[in-house]
């Protein structure tokens, strides 16, 4: 039977399954599930509700920031300042509330700080052409130092009149006994996934990561979008900071130290490409989950904690190896 032009054009080259099997995120999910199954049989402590509660909650802070980072990484950028921004936003909230202001004003000040930092990063990168690595490396140092200035490098653990509200916001479990941070993470992940797949803004983010020059030529507002993604990234760090403050009940200027590398690792393990153009919300969550499960399991299996870095680093390399193998096969 002759195949007409129309039939060729209408044909789908990839079925749902073939796409699933070729996705790095899918294999990381499998890895997480296998690790969990193995741990439930190998140890008594893993599959207890207390441990699972701990794991899910530990995932959230890295995962929430990783969601914001996903936007930046899809455009081909990087944001190294998230750990420090998280600390600064957390400290702004703590200091404002400690001074006797309400929780609303504290959160407002904290979110405004995050957005201002994101806008500053974004404008330097998009309009003045600074490399993202350099700008956010500078901000990593600046934001941490501002947090020390704001608190005089002390620990803040009294949050004024709304102290209890803040602890409930971060430490409570308002729905079916699921820890609040987990709920926030799920909501933010759904929003991120929706924006990336279904909005013009999301489509343009992918276009910028794929070919920035082409995006400019076809009329995509590249600069505005770049500023927006750095603001989203800083905002996600700010939100994580607010939630973490409520959960910990105290803020030190050490909060979020080195977190940027965990966040970037989570997005990369989840399938985002640092060269830009690829990444998903689900991937960011799954990447964060794999890192946490590895960490948790090492503890439960009684392996020396010094090995943690080796295993997490290995996971990063393995995840990217999958991607390389697929590309080799395609190019042959």
């Amino acid at each position: 039977m002759a195949v007409t032009l129309d039939q060729t054009i209408a044909q789908k080259q990839h079925t749902f399954l073939s796409r699933l099997f070729s996705s790095q995120t899918f294999w990381v999910v499998i890895a997480v599930i296998l690790a969990c199954l193995f741990l439930s049989f190998a140890t008594d402590a893993f599959a207890t509700s207390k441990n699972l509660y701990n794991i899910t909650r530990n995932i959230t802070f890295v995962a929430i920031v990783a969601l914001g980072m996903t936007f930046v990484i899809i455009t081909g950028g990087i944001d190294l300042s998230v750990g420090s921004v998280l600390c600064l936003c957390s400290m702004v909230l703590a200091v404002t509330m400690h001074a006797g202001y309400s929780i609303e004003i504290g959160i407002l000040a904290s979110v405004a700080t995050a957005l201002a930092i994101g806008a500053f990063n974004g404008i330097l990168i998009a309009y003045l052409g600074f490399p993202p690595f350099v700008v956010t490396l500078g901000m990593l140092s600046i934001a941490r130092s501002l947090a020390m200035v704001a608190s005089n490098n002390t620990v803040v653990f009294q949050f004024g009149p709304d102290h209890a509200k803040l602890l409930a916001l971060g430490g409570g479990a308002w729905l079916f006994g699921i820890a609040n941070p987990v709920l926030y993470m799920i909501v933010l992940a759904l929003i991120t996934g929706f924006v990336l797949r279904w909005t013009k803004f999301g489509r343009h983010i992918f276009a910028i990561g794929g070919n920035e020059h082409a995006a400019t030529l076809t009329g995509v507002p590249v600069r505005q979008i770049k500023v927006a993604v750095y603001m989203i990234s800083a905002l996600s760090a700010g939100i994580a900071g607010i939630v973490e403050t409520g959960w910990l009940g105290a803020v030190t200027t050490n909060l979020g130290n080195g977190m940027e590398l965990q966040v970037i690792a989570a997005t990369v393990i989840g399938g985002a490409n640092l060269a830009g153009g690829v990444g998903t919300a689900f991937g960011a969550i799954v990447g964060a989950a794999l890192i946490e499960v590895i960490r948790n399991s090492l503890g439960l299996l009684g392996i020396n904690a010094f090995w943690q870095g080796t295993f997490i680093g290995g996971a990063i390399l393995l995840a990217v190896l999958f991607d390389r193998v697929r590309n080799f096969r395609r190019s042959e």
Binding site: L5, D6, T8, I9, A10, Q11, K12, Q13, H14, R197, W198, T199, K200, R203, H204, F206, A207, G209, G210, N211, H213, A214, A215, T216, L217, T218, G219, V220, G277, V278
Partner: protein
């Protein structure tokens, strides 16, 4: 009546005079070959029409109204479409996404509008069928051949009612069979009353499809005549400077 008319257009970048006092007019349904050596000012001229640069001097008129462009989107709104030399494609997106890049179709009400994938796939498919190109709207551009990529870039110009299509070296990097396809497409656009400006180094293509040829050398226009009254030898002489000015 001319669809586009340039009067005494110049462009300089600092001390460098890229385009010097060029005037020309383009009629609807006409294919104009724009030729010249590297650095002759072709690209700069085209980028001014495309809204990438603003002229330092001179005026552009479209349908007898003054045309001032601040950015590429405005050129597109006026019915000026460009097929860029590097095709300006995003490898990580599908063919349909590339066709609609910068003017995605959406459905929904008010601020709650989502991308209309179905409509974009359907319309992109129709355009590829019209172009007689075996290009699947759902495929990633990464996996496509040179001809298919060309089809994606050209399909963009057919989304809206274009008045002028500027093509920057559309036949430079494709196979012989595909060159014929692209030239057919140019005729297809012309038959619909669209003016086509074909920037090319390939003499046979220009003499095959164009009605008129404009030659630029060192920023100035040195010839503007019908294909019938010219010859490849004359054009070559004009491009290299062996002939100073067209007779």
């Amino acid at each position: 009546m001319a669809v586009l008319e340039l009067t005494n257009i110049s462009k300089h970048f600092g001390a460098i005079q890229a385009v010097n006092d060029v005037s020309l007019s383009i009629e609807p349904g006409q294919v104009v070959g724009l030729m010249g050596d590297n650095g002759a000012g072709k690209s700069t001229l085209v980028k001014m029409i495309a809204g990438n640069f603003r002229p330092s001097h001179g005026t552009m008129r479209m349908d007898d109204k003054e045309l001032i462009l601040h950015k590429p989107v405005e050129a597109r709104q006026h019915g000026i479409e460009i097929v860029h030399q590097d095709l300006a494609l995003c490898n990580n997106l599908t063919a349909a996404a590339n066709v609609y890049l910068g003017r995605e179709l959406r459905r929904g009400v008010g601020p709650f509008r989502i991308l209309d994938y179905a409509a974009m796939y359907r319309r992109a498919g129709q355009i590829f069928a019209e172009l007689k190109s075996e290009t699947r709207p759902r495929d990633l551009v990464k996996q496509m051949s040179g001809g298919q990529r060309q089809a994606v870039a050209i399909a963009r110009t057919m989304l809206s009612q274009a008045k002028i299509v500027l093509m920057d070296e559309p036949t430079a990097a494709i196979s012989v069979r595909q060159v014929a396809e692209v030239l057919n497409l140019i005729r297809h656009l012309r038959d619909q009353g669209i003016a086509v400006v074909l920037i090319s180094h390939r003499m046979p293509d220009v003499f095959d499809v164009a009605d008129r040829v404009i030659v630029m050398r060192r920023g100035s226009k040195v010839a503007d005549k019908t294909i019938a009254s010219s010859s490849p030898e004359e054009v070559t002489g004009l491009i290299t400077g062996a002939i100073e000015q067209a007779a």
